[in-house]
Amino acid sequence: MSSNPHTTNEKNPVEPYLADFSTFEKAHQENTPSWLRPRRKVAISRFAEWGFPTILDEGWRFTNIGTLARSHFVVAPPAGEQGSEAIAALLARAESYVPGDATAARLVFVNGRHVPELSTVPAQGRGVKIGSLAGALASQEGILECYLSRFADADDRNYTFAALNTAFLEDGALVVVPQGVELDKPIHLVFLSVSATDGYTSAVHPRVLAVVGRNARASFVESHLSTRHEAAHWTNGVTELIAWQNASVDYHRLQLEDPDALHTGLLRFHLEADAQLSSHVMTLGGALVRNDVHAVLNGKGAHGDFNGLYVATENHHIDNHLRIEHVRSHGMSRQNYKGILTDRGRGVFTGRIVVHKDAQKTDAKQTNRNLLLSEEARANSQPQLEISADDVKCTHGTTVGQLDAESLFYLRARGLPLEKARGLLVQAFAQESIEHIGIASIREAMLSEIFGRLLARPALVSVP
């Protein structure tokens, strides 16, 4: 059944998921729209075929996901009564960077399920839709059939976890911003994960579909927070976002889960002509994290900024994998990812720029800078260019280094104690990435989250 040669000798780790799927499918027979059933089936059969990638797969050379393959992660049950305190604490943290606001939309999900009591959805009018995916499926929203899994499910084994997400797709968020509508407040999508099992490994597969119409404008904050679980827990998220002509979108994905979390996430962006996207992927939590960003600049003159910051402490592993495709001419893309790595933390960055043959005058730029704060921290960085047009401008640059000794001396010679000087330089490094975020409260919170994490490390930095 599996074409994956590395697991055939052992028990195939995919099999329990196939059994789960049968059960899941039966349980959802009633409320599944007829068009969704075949999509789920295709997805599970792809996952069955592709299975769990290994380091022999090109896209996973530096990321060993053995931890995921070795256990069977059942779909997490809803949080019980005992979870309410943990949920309140996580929500308070989320509110520290996107304050509660009766006039701004906030959808809260706990263990993958929408919780209306914790959510705020003010009436937006003008045809704006902000709500749970489960609700939209139940009410047969027409737009779902058109877009759901249209872009995120490709016949490509790099999409194996996206396929798993689609197979178990149940809930998440649907946001539709119609043509010409400009939303001035960010839409906050809060995904919380709290321990609800009796010590068995669990997963959630949250899904987001966002459609931003022609000349429309919207800003999103997708937050992932969790408590420490009794057993390993895995968040496997997929977000599909379509930006129509001249739409303007800010997308923030904040991964602030607990230090044991396992996380895979795909951001799949589809941009039509002159659409403007600014994406920010902040990864500050998790033991094993793989973020995929796949953007297709499908229309002429589309523009995408892709910023990222990742902080790996302890023995954490954070992998950011980007694929930016220029399909039509005059597109512009900027990838700017930065990593702060300490202890035995490891950062992996792969940025692939694909320029199709009609994408003349493409201007694509990529930088990845890594700061190593300990002897054992490591960074891998791989720029990849695949260019089929002849009139393009593509550049890439990578650095891996420690805090600059001359800068440290300069600060100390002005009176700053060593720890403070180090802290200031780390802050400055992070600041260059954070300052691109348009929401001040998020900028501040990210800095303090970063220092919260680094401060817990022995003799590393102090908050300046």
């Binding site: 600059d404 000794a405 001359e406 800068s407 001396f409 300069y410 600060l411 100390r412 010679a413 002005r414 009176g415 700053l416 104690p417 060593l418 403070k420 000087a421 200031l424 330089l425 802050q427 400055a428 490094f429 992070a430 600041q431 260059e432 300052e435 300046p464």
Partner: protein
């Protein structure tokens, strides 16, 4: 104020300073001149506490304390300041933020209360006027994208804010045109004080037309080979370092 005794310094195994003696009294300005590679900047860096320099012999007393035993930040706390020959660019850190952190670290070291934001801002404005610094620079990242002249002026401005007792100016004149040089020198002169000593390291005599030293020392191959008053600088300008290198080292060391 400062007493350097028989200082020997090595960098990556090479002897750079080979027995330097210097005594600087309160309020005095000493100029250290010498050809490239003579060890001038090494002396400045060692006094500021750069770790790449290894002191193999000798002693430095600053107000009676063992300067070499102190970390760079302790030296700053004790009132030592070096204006860097190549001020470091630090993207992402605003100059005003950095200076407030520095000043408060020094105040804390001295057991003084930290300055609040308002008092600090007032101080900053006042010092910017004093050394004629465009205060828009304060809102930019430390030295980032500054011109050569702005960087050097920035160093003097930092000195004005931190009010050291011993200031070491390491080739503050290098890379400056005559107008920029004059502005920097005016800044330095405005900070002259009977309680503030300065060591002015320079290759060229022209800076000393503006910052008039009390003593001039000539450093060649890691040793002072001649010391004298300000007229020594003029003599050097006229005859070049070649002249003095050929002369026997009759008046090494000292100041007084």
């Amino acid at each position: 104020m400062l007493e350097i005794r028989n200082l020997h310094v090595r960098v990556e195994g090479h002897a750079i300073l080979k027995g330097v003696d210097l005594t600087v009294g309160a309020g005095e300005i000493h100029s250290i001149m010498g050809p490239n590679g003579s060890g001038k900047s090494t002396l400045a860096q060692v006094l500021a506490g750069h770790e790449a320099y290894e002191v193999s012999e000798g002693q430095v007393l600053y107000e009676g304390k063992d300067l070499l035993a102190m970390s760079p930040e302790e030296r700053a706390g004790e009132g030592v300041f070096m204006a860097f020959q190549y001020p470091v660019e630090i993207p992402g850190v605003r100059t005003s933020y950095f200076l407030r952190a520095a000043l408060n670290a020094i105040r804390k070291y001295r057991g003084q209360d930290e300055l609040d934001a308002m008092d600090f801002l007032t101080l900053l404005q006042e010092k910017a006027v004093k050394v004629k610094l465009d205060d828009r620079l304060l809102e930019r990242a430390v030295n980032e994208g500054f011109s050569g002249g702005e960087k050097k002026r920035g160093e003097i401005f930092q000195m004005a804010v931190l009010e050291p007792r011993l200031a070491i100016l390491d080739e503050t004149d290098s890379g400056l045109d005559i107008d920029a040089l004059r502005i920097v020198a005016e800044g330095v002169n405005s900070l002259r004080d009977p309680q503030r000593s300065m060591i002015v390291v320079t290759h060229y005599q022209r800076l000393l037309n503006y910052i008039v030293p009390d003593f001039v020392h000539v450093l060649v191959d890691g040793r002072f080979i001649r010391s004298g008053g300000k007229e020594l600088a003029l003599e050097l300008e006229e005859k070049g370092y070649g002249w003095i290198e050929k002369e026997p080292a009759d008046a090494a060391a000292g100041g007084r």
